[in-house]
């Protein structure tokens, strides 16, 4: 009986230590401060409400007839910049990733797109080098295993 209990305890202990950690350790950086964001965007929210309830209205029309909605807002007319900001990948990965995943092709793309922006090209080049290193290492290990098995089989 005692032996069975001991074995069961060892089993449970092994199981628990193999599970991923579930410590209750969160981060405040993942909490959304809705009040703060609403306060920052308060004037824009009012302008937005007007635009949404008046379909097709443009900035010129609002400036002419409802200028109070744009008072206190230094409004930029640049939707292309808004789209660019909306489409960015997290962590500014793109230049590195282009080089890492597409090799010299990705490096060339970054070089052309960024007009030889040295920091961006350097990131892509680094990605390209690291991915090449990973591939070379993979094949070295693979052939090592194949040749090792072949040698032991003779």
């Amino acid at each position: 009986m005692k032996k069975a209990l001991l074995l069961a305890s060892c089993f449970v202990l092994a199981l628990l230590t193999s599970l991923p950690s579930f410590a209750a350790d969160g981060t405040d950086d993942l909490k959304f401060d809705e009040q703060k964001v609403n306060a920052e965007l308060n004037k824009l929210n009012k302008l937005e409400q007007h635009v949404l309830t008046h379909e097709g209205v443009t900035l010129d029309e609002i400036s002419a007839s409802n200028s109070h909605l744009t008072e206190g807002i230094a409004l930029e007319v640049n939707s292309i910049a808004a789209v660019l900001a909306d489409g960015e990948l997290p962590a500014n990965i793109p230049p590195f990733w282009w080089g890492f995943c597409l090799g010299w092709v990705g490096l060339l793309v970054v070089y052309l797109i960024t007009d030889n922006d040295k920091p961006q090209v350097k990131k892509a080049f680094t990605g390209c080098l690291i991915s090449t290193g990973v591939v070379v290492l993979f094949y070295v290990v693979l052939y090592g295993l194949i040749l090792g098995n072949f040698g032991s089989g003779i």
Partner: protein, 255 residues
């Protein structure tokens, strides 16, 4: 022999049913009314209101804005094109935006829950470092897969609630918080889970005079696999006007 033939036919049938099921669940197109509000670090603001169209097969995003002015913006390949109300090309900028990592593509392919981090790429940049549970949410920390990348990439921390991505916090290699994204007010349209509000906060280096940017995008009237408006989803870019525009931009100098 007859028994064997029946088994083989059954296996083929089951395989075909499985293939058909998986194809039936592949969504390919999404449309949504969008409103993008921004407050920038330099004190200025932007508001853009219109409709976004994305078709996975064409690989382009088309924005038909009505505010601040009537304008069409097309994100295609590695360029963002701007067309005025008469479809005349007014701007073209290079951009490293990958359609596979836009919220539209990730939602259509049911990969928004990990923001595409568990991608099919042979070499993955990030790996899971730890998974924690707090207040009913799953907190996942991603770190660079190769230690040599630590000089360039920091960690990513994600929060999921009931398999829905709620927040991402992105850190630089020096562990400083670079940006946060919050995905809220999810709606389910034909089986596609989509956050109708996405808020992004980006922090620039304060020592060099930078500040914080806030961008909040609201999506509404979401439609999945719409059969009509094909001409908008595949909106052509008047590339014949590009040489003249590029010449004009070169003469004007860099922005």
């Amino acid at each position: 022999m007859k028994y064997l033939v029946r088994i083989v036919l059954l296996m083929i049938s089951l395989t075909l049913i499985g293939i058909n099921s998986s194809i039936a669940q592949q969504f390919y197109r999404i449309k949504a009314d969008v409103s993008i509000k921004e407050k920038l670090a330099n004190g200025s603001s932007r508001l853009s209101v219109g409709t976004a169209y994305f078709d996975k097969l064409y690989g382009k995003i088309v924005y038909k804005f009505t505010f601040p002015k009537v304008e069409t913006i097309i994100v295609q390949d590695t360029t963002v094109f701007s067309l005025d109300a008469k479809n005349k090309l007014t701007d073209a900028r290079k951009a490293l935006i990958l359609p596979e990592f836009t919220i539209f593509h990730l939602a259509l392919t049911n990969r928004l829950s990990d923001y595409g981090m568990k991608g099919e790429n042979t070499y993955e940049l990030y790996k899971i470092d730890k998974v924690e549970k707090k207040e009913g949410k799953v907190i996942t920390t991603w770190i660079p897969n190769d230690p040599s990348l630590n000089k360039y990439l920091g960690s990513l921390v994600m929060s999921n609630n009931n398999k829905r991505l709620e927040a991402i916090a992105i850190y630089g290699p020096d562990n400083k918080l670079l940006s946060q994204q919050f995905f809220r007010k999810y709606v389910n349209v034909k089986g596609v889970e989509f956050p109708s509000q996405v808020t992004q906060l980006t922090y620039t280096i304060k020592e060099s005079g930078g500040g914080d940017n806030i961008q909040q995008t609201t999506y509404s009237n979401i439609q999945v696999d719409q059969a009509s408006e094909n001409d908008i989803y595949r909106h052509p870019v008047p590339l014949s006007q590009l040489p003249a525009l590029l010449k004009k931009q070169a003469a004007a100098g860099p922005k």
